[in-house]
């Protein structure tokens, strides 16, 4: 069928991917008209190790300058996209690279890391993650200091893998709106999903939106209502449901897309170096499955078309595809103004 969105496609941001970086991925982005991708450069890495990851990306930028370029902010993203390339934005999924040094927030921000998740699943010095049973939210001294520093420097705080109370505390404490770059609503997907601790409560999402934040919805099958059997129609249902709950200015995409790794990388994500085994068993099957309608970010235009088919207006689509993230980046990447 002739697509109502195909000409031109709206500017699209995927606000979290964690694939093994490779030219094939960058080509997929271009084919999917993805204008900006927030890529994870650290999950358990130390400061020193993270510098090397940045070094590897620098080589990738040099070798693939026809397809991608690093963005430090919104103006970069617009310029890079206008040149027919995909803007790559660095982010941390954990604060381990900061090594409890408050001044490293600015140092890494100056290297382009403009999105930082407070913690990844487990507790750290700053906050509780979604895997803790007993959830004490943001810590009194270290946590409060780092949230203020991220606000002061202009680093967008990400709460995707944080605990319920960490989310609520941070939304309260942050002087700038914050992000859930990649998580689905628990009220929609149900607590029967494989990674039941990852989706967000409606309370968190409403509070996030109330303060100007954005949630990125994901086709990651372990967070979808019917797992790998979830249809595109059901994903669109979730998107429209979330828009109904939060308003169209607060819903976007963060696919959590990854490919190119074997089980050892999944173990690294789940157990870092703090465990010899993953607390969540890693099966012998494929490392990850993606739904038939989202085998890669190349599939973005199909998802956007499905939203239009279900009644989203062109303006609304522009917000959900990329406009909401760009607005939040604009706010979050500059020093927060306190009332």
């Amino acid at each position: 069928m002739s697509s109502p969105v195909a000409d031109p496609l709206p500017f699209t941001v995927d606000c979290l991917e964690y694939s093994k970086p490779d030219r094939a991925r960058f080509e997929e982005w271009r084919r999917g008209s993805v204008g900006c991708v927030h890529v994870t450069i650290a999950v358990w890495e130390t400061a020193r190790e993270t510098l090397s990851v940045i070094g590897e990306w620098n080589d990738l930028f040099a070798a693939n300058s026809d397809l991608i370029e690093q963005a430090h902010g919104v103006a970069d993203i617009t310029r890079i996209n206008a040149a027919g390339k995909t803007a790559v934005l660095f982010g941390f999924q954990n604060t381990t690279p900061l090594e409890d040094d408050i001044r490293l927030v600015r140092v890494f921000a100056d290297l382009g890391v403009r999105i930082m998740q407070l913690t990844y699943n487990t507790q750290n010095s700053i906050a509780a993650g979604c895997w803790e049973d007993d959830d004490n939210g943001v810590s009194k001294h270290v946590g409060a200091n780092f949230i203020k520093e991220m606000n002061d420097v202009g680093v967008l705080i990400d709460l995707s893998h944080c605990s319920e109370r960490t989310c609520l505390d941070t939304i309260d404490m942050s002087a700038a709106p914050v992000a859930v770059t990649h998580a689905n609503p628990i009220e929609f997907v149900g607590d029967g999903v494989e990674l039941s601790r990852r989706p967000k409560s409606t309370e968190v999402l409403r509070k996030l939106a109330g303060r100007g934040g954005v949630v990125g919805l994901s086709p990651y099958v372990r967070m979808l209502r019917d797992g790998a059997a979830t249809t595109l129609d059901s994903f669109v249902d979730m998107t429209l449901w979330t828009i109904d709950q939060l308003g169209v200015e607060h819903v976007a995409f963060g696919t959590d897309f990854y490919t190119g790794y074997d089980a050892s990388m999944v173990k690294w994500w789940r157990a870092g170096r703090w465990g010899r085994e993953s607390p969540i068993p890693i099966g012998d099957g494929p490392v990850v499955e993606w739904p038939s309608w989202f085998s890669s970010p190349e599939a973005f235009p199909g998802v956007l078309e499905a939203l239009v088919d279900r009644g989203l207006s062109r303006d609304e689509l522009a917000l959900v595809a990329g406009g909401n993230w760009m607005r939040l980046f604009e706010q979050g990447f500059q020093p927060a103004v306190r009332a």
Copy 2:
């Protein structure tokens, strides 16, 4: 007066000091007949930085081999003491040097770090510290893993700066008895002391003792009932009171003695690199004061004599002066046997 303990003085362990290492300190130890000192080699240092601290101690051991020698365990302590020298035992007051790497517990234990405090005042990935208002104890994954690893390797866990619930959780979870190397009982000193979050509840101390642990009492004025005005008699009262509560096998000394630093070191202890300012104001006065009867570890014999004057038997004194720590070291420095 002729001292009842002077000939011979009992074997004495000071289970925490954090002075700037210097030959003058080692001479004080010898004059005070201190047979073993647990020295802090890290509080906020990274793994790499801690290696350099160990390197500096190695130089000190070489330059002062007439006075001190590093001990890796109880046999070393006995041998070094028999040779008329003070045994130095390394410890961490925080787990930052482990950098969330479970395997670094053994690596640092192999370098002689046989005592590790889970956290220093603030929350980290393993547990809550005594400065947190909202205390969720030991974390579910990282904390549980590190306690088990310390047990398996034979590292004695120290809870001195940990929160109430971290203490209770750890005593429950640890397969080996644990230590509070330097803290006073809150029930005795009262919550009006300057560092009111540091002293331990009677519940914690009883539970610690019930599992075979030991508490080290301290003449640090910020943890004494009458601050700098506290008399030796009052310190002896506290010691005897604690013995009454816990039994003589569970009470000993950890002076927390430090000297040789300026305010910048106190700021480092209190705020690490996670804060630009100390949450507890650092005044312009002297960095630290010590009671007139404990101006340095040279004063140990006087403290021991006062205990004998107040009725402690020679056998009891031997336990409190050093025997209790040696028994706990013997248990704690080998892999824990699980029931």
